[in-house]
């Protein structure tokens, strides 16, 4: 018995981790204008992960988020949140979700305290001034609690929207482009907040144009374009799979052109002729670095320094979109 009771929590944690907290199946949305915003989207978001949704403008990111949150009526398909169908069992599904919309849509005349407390009530939670206070303090809005919303700056309004979304202690937080128009310091604070939320076991779904942030933050990444999910991948795997590395050599003497003997390496010569760049595949069996260095030596090209760089998620993203078009 003792042994069993020891195993159970660990086992259930593993099961809970494996389970999708949000599952989207065959979701399509055609707007009244005829615009096909989502085309048969299938997606599973795991409990406790930070999930990044990447895509260009008009790709369907917001439509997807709004469908899950109940703001957009899907044309077809099903969505469940922690096993609750978002239509049949909307109360259970929605009370788990906090949404931070892309636009700075706030009340104007209410106080910060009133509007955040309102959100908590709206999501069916009894009053808890202690929690509201905590949220406002975390978001550096505590000294503004009695100010009217209209007097806040853009960055404060953004934080206010996050405070509203966190007011009812959601297990899932949607952040739709949360750092758009937010300064560097605030952005860093925000990501710090997201990390600490993840530590409490919350699931976070975000969309962002700042791909480097998704790269830094996300556990998994989905790339969406023209209403279709192009891939869903563990970020590390994605980087490994699509990642290319570049080797840059600083030459001792500038070159006018790349010698013909080295054409096979497809080297790029910088405009000042002082550096050569070699791009290679990390996954490739042979990177070709040894051969390149030997051939350079044979050709009498000396270098003073070398460095390697990995391609960013942004490069991967751009190349992925180009491939499909």
């Amino acid at each position: 018995m003792l042994n069993r009771s020891k195993q159970t929590p660990a086992h259930s944690t593993i099961v809970a981790f494996m389970q999708a907290i949000i599952s989207v199946s065959n979701l399509s949305k055609i707007y009244a204008s005829g615009f096909h915003a989502l085309k048969g989207v299938n997606l599973e978001i795991r409990r406790g992960e930070i999930f990044a949704l990447l895509g260009p403008n008009g790709a369907g990111k917001t439509t997807l988020i709004n469908s899950i949150c109940g703001i957009v009526n899907p044309t077809s398909g099903a969505i469940s949140v922690d096993g609750h169908d978002i239509v049949r069992d909307y109360r259970a599904a929605r009370s788990m979700i906090g949404l931070v919309p892309q636009e700075l849509t706030t009340d104007a005349f209410e106080s910060v305290w009133a509007t955040v407390s309102f959100s908590r009530g709206l999501f069916g939670k009894p009053k808890n001034p202690g929690h509201i206070e905590k949220v406002l303090k975390v978001l550096s809005l505590w000294d503004k609690k009695d100010s009217r919303v209209m007097t806040l700056s853009g960055g404060m309004k953004r934080r206010l929207l996050i405070a509203k979304a966190l007011s009812h202690e959601p297990q899932i937080l949607f952040l739709d482009e949360p750092t758009a128009g937010v300064d560097v310091n605030l952005r860093r604070d925000m990501w710090q907040l997201v990390r600490s939320l993840k530590e409490t076991g919350a699931t976070i779904v975000l969309t962002t144009h700042y791909i480097n942030e998704a790269e830094e933050m996300a556990d998994r990444v989905a790339v969406i374009n023209r209403g279709e999910i192009m891939l869903v991948e563990n970020k590390v795997d994605l980087m490994r799979k699509l990642g290319k590395k570049q080797l840059t050599l600083q030459l001792s003497k500038p070159l006018h052109s790349v010698p013909a003997k080295l054409a096979a390496y497809q080297l790029e010569l910088s405009s000042d002729g002082c550096s050569l760049t070699y791009t290679y595949d990390v996954q490739g069996e042979r990177t070709g670095i040894n051969a390149l260095l030997e051939d350079l030596n044979m050709a009498g090209i000396m270098f003073s320094d070398l460095q390697t760089t990995e391609s960013s998620l942004e490069d991967i993203f751009v190349s992925l979109l180009e491939d499909r078009q």
Partner: protein, 253 residues
């Protein structure tokens, strides 16, 4: 029932009322007082009694109805239109609240405000003319029923409107004429027979008639008919709102 949400929205809406006290309570009271001064005191003294009631007293129920109707509509329509206009409606749509709860809280707050206003106007009227209320229970019932019904109408307008102009359009072009022509200032008996018949298509006639009956025991139409018609308008409004939420009309894309 998400009672916390109903309470939150109701409180939020009532807070708006207190914030805009001047516009929402004081201005209707002032304009109604002006009606009493002009029609009740100045002109009314030259008008003979209607069914044994002085003209000043006769117009009290009609004037309360006039305010009740316009204020119910404007409160409720603004209450739901404003979040649509600013975009904060996203929160309501993504919240675990049922349509019934949304309607109860928004319409309840708008109706509460109108009823308070109606009672204030009644008290104001008491300063100008001698009042009698024969059927106080029915008076309150008609007051509440009308406030709720027209708050529902306002809610529908607030969802239908796609600009501030449309928000004003219905109260201005439909409700005010219907109220003025619905017997606020006269008994429909004094109209020629043809116009009497036409007037019966005006729903406001039934509201004012029933309301006036609760004051003085006199009515243009039978009080049972008044009550039935008021209930029918209530049912129609509820049906339209049910359809709005079922289809997501103007709320969801």
């Amino acid at each position: 029932m998400n009672i916390y949400a109903v309470r939150a929205i109701y409180k939020f809406e009532m807070a708006r009322t207190w914030r805009t006290l001047l516009q929402s309570i004081i201005s209707p009271v002032i304009s109604t007082s002006l009606y009493f001064v002009v029609f009740g005191a100045a002109i009314g003294s030259r008008i003979s009694q209607i069914n044994g009631i002085s003209y000043g007293a006769f117009i009290v129920p009609g004037l309360i109805m006039l305010s009740l109707l316009t204020q119910s509509i404007s409160n409720a329509s603004f209450g739901i239109y404003f979040p649509r206009f600013t975009g904060t409606i996203y929160e309501l749509l993504s919240a675990p609240v049922s349509y019934i709860e949304i309607v109860i809280s928004y319409v309840g707050a708008a109706a509460t405000k109108s009823i308070i206003l109606g009672l204030i106007i009644l008290a104001t009227a008491g300063l100008f003319v001698p009042l009698q209320i024969i059927h106080p229970f029915w008076m309150i019932l008609f007051l509440a029923l009308t406030a709720v019904t027209f708050s529902l109408v306002g809610f529908i307008i607030g969802i239908w409107a796609d600009g501030f102009e449309k928000l004003q359009l219905v109260p201005l072009l439909i409700i005010t004429p219907l109220t003025f022509l619905g017997g606020s200032f006269y008994s429909i008996d004094i109209l020629p027979p043809l116009w009497q018949t036409i007037t019966l298509f005006n729903p406001v006639v039934y509201l004012i008639s029933g309301f006036r009956w609760s004051f003085y025991g006199i009515a243009d139409v039978d009080v049972a008919v008044s009550l039935t018609m008021t209930s029918v308008f209530l049912a129609i409004s509820l049906a339209i709102i049910a359809w709005i939420f079922k289809t997501g009309y103007r709320l969801k894309t």
